[in-house]
């Protein structure tokens, strides 16, 4: 947190070394015991498997997120250090940037996705949620991932961006590559990148001004070129940020919320009794499941963090999901409680890089859970949920459910 002159010799030796591989299939299957080990081992740990530091307690995750001058993003927010390795794609102008460059691009996306912009799309998003729930009530039994968590964002977000109807099937696979690529060079990452060419080609093409419908988020970004806030070469890359981060994240967020409400009938009942809790029920699902599990930073100088000295140029892995269940910060951290005061959770990050699309995500979550709470009496899980594996995203591949109309 603060600078210190302690010699580097206290480096990795003074912090607990763990053999945990947070990008292994067995870890993904049940991360909670490992999260606890990581938190309890110390405020800062060292992961020998990938030669990185790790922070899993709330206080340290929050501190790292809020000191971007020391823990930078421009060297990549995945394991790969952009100073040493060529990035797999041109770096993001916002996610993988530091101030002052970040400040300028961030201002553009903040404006495009502002509370004022949300007022303009709210009715459309809410009507589409109602329509989706209508269709699901006709079916009664369906896959809550494909037919709800994916189908709903797909029915609004690409249109809100202004994308052409053709080729949208590339969107989720592209995002899956992006989030796998933050991980280490394991099979998930290698395979994802090996198969990414067609998805990358689609995305590069759709980010061009001519391919974005007027009035959409994409066109609004390009319009900033005209007032000189960004250049014509920067605009497509900023549109790409929304294509990368704006769809699969909300799919996993909505999937998490439905999975929680289906698993915890008492919370579902509370939501039924008071549908105005929908927005917080979504937020609590983002805390509880943390659809984005981890991000890295790279140190720009030697730094002391809670007694551990970390040298310059080291990768630090932030366990957002573990911080969101740290008993030092949260009462009954492992309970899904839709009336919890969720303010301060790090599921959307914190500090200057905190999710610029958080208002979009909350709006989608709120209107979908509101529609469900008003129209559906019961959600029952009718088969074994299947997990989807990704180096960064946590979510399900399928969740068979049956719903009963209200």
């Amino acid at each position: 947190m603060t600078a210190s002159g302690t010699p580097a010799s206290t480096g990795p030796a003074s912090v607990p070394h763990l053999d945990v591989d947070p990008f292994d299939m067995r870890f993904f299957a049940d991360p909670y015991p490992a999260h606890q080990r990581l938190r309890e081992a110390g405020p800062v740990v060292y992961l020998d498997k990938w030669n990185v530091y790790g922070v899993a307690r709330y206080a340290e995750v929050h501190a790292v997120l809020n000191d971007p001058a020391t823990f930078c993003s421009s060297r990549g927010v995945g394991l790969s250090d952009f100073k040493k390795e060529t990035p797999w794609r041109p770096p993001s102008l916002i996610l993988e940037a530091d101030p002052p460059a970040h400040t300028r691009t961030r201002a553009v996306l903040s404006k495009v996705l502002s509370p004022t912009a949300m007022k303009q799309v709210r009715d459309r998003f809410a009507a589409a949620a109602e329509e989706r729930v209508d269709a699901l009530l006709d079916k009664r039994s369906f896959d809550a991932i494909a037919d709800l968590a994916e189908a709903y964002p797909l029915s609004i977000f690409p249109d809100a961006l202004g994308l052409k109807p053709e080729g949208r099937e590339h969107l989720i696979p592209y995002a899956s590559v992006v989030f796998n690529a933050f991980g280490p060079p394991n099979e998930l990452r290698q395979q994802a990148i090996a198969r990414s060419a067609p998805h990358q080609a689609y995305v590069a093409e759709q980010c061009q001004r001519d391919n974005l419908a007027p009035g959409g988020f994409g066109a609004c970004i390009h319009a900033r070129v005209d007032d000189g806030e960004i250049t014509a070469t920067e605009a497509p890359l900023l549109v790409r940020s929304l294509l990368s981060a704006g769809l699969d994240t909300t799919v996993n967020g909505i999937g998490a919320a439905v999975y929680c409400l289906a698993r915890f009938p008492d919370q579902w009942q509370r939501l039924r009794d008071d549908p105005t809790l929908a927005r917080n029920a979504f937020e609590e699902a983002v805390r509880f499941e943390s659809p984005v599990q981890t991000f890295f930073r790279t140190t720009t100088r030697e730094v002391e963090l809670s007694g551990a000295t970390i040298g310059e140029g080291e990768k630090v892995l932030m366990f957002l999901a573990a911080a969101n269940r740290d008993p030092r910060r949260w009462d009954r951290p492992d309970s899904y409680d839709i009336t919890r005061r969720t303010s301060g959770h790090v599921g959307f990050g914190s500090g200057i890089h905190m999710c610029v699309g958080q208002l979009v995500a909350r709006l989608e979550g709120e209107v979908m859970l509101t529609a469900l709470a008003r129209r559906v009496a019961k959600i029952e899980i009718t088969g074994e949920p299947k997990r989807r594996f990704n180096n960064t995203l946590r979510g399900l591949d399928s969740l068979p459910v049956t719903i009963t109309p209200a």
Partner: protein
């Protein structure tokens, strides 16, 4: 420690002790006060910590940054000349006694 007063839309007022280092939003959420959501946790990104500052205190507030100004344009309850984001008001000893009114809605 400095204390501040929140007045609810129904006129009920609530006095909250602050730690001396925190923002009005942090003091409110720490005390479980209804009416401040603070969805972004104080990062000036959500506009759900909106308050109307008592006129007599306006001059003693920190200057408004551009991002706060832009966010206030999108508040759920109408923006007024005394609208501020409570996460951007640090409660220093000079602001001991601050009075703010809560809007009808935050989302």
């Amino acid at each position: 420690m400095p204390a501040i007063t929140f007045i609810h839309p129904d006129g009920k007022s609530e006095r909250v002790e602050t730690s001396g280092e925190e923002s009005a939003m942090q003091a409110a959420t720490r005390h479980g006060l209804d009416g401040i959501l603070a969805e972004c946790g104080g990062n000036a990104m959500c506009a759900t910590c909106h308050v109307y500052v008592d006129e007599s205190w306006l001059a003693r507030l920190p200057d408004m940054a551009d991002d706060e100004d832009a966010l206030l344009d999108g508040t759920a309850s109408e923006r007024r000349p005394n609208s501020r984001l409570s996460c951007q008001i640090r409660i220093t000893p000079e602001r001991d006694g601050l009075i703010v009114k809560l809007p009808e809605r935050q989302v």
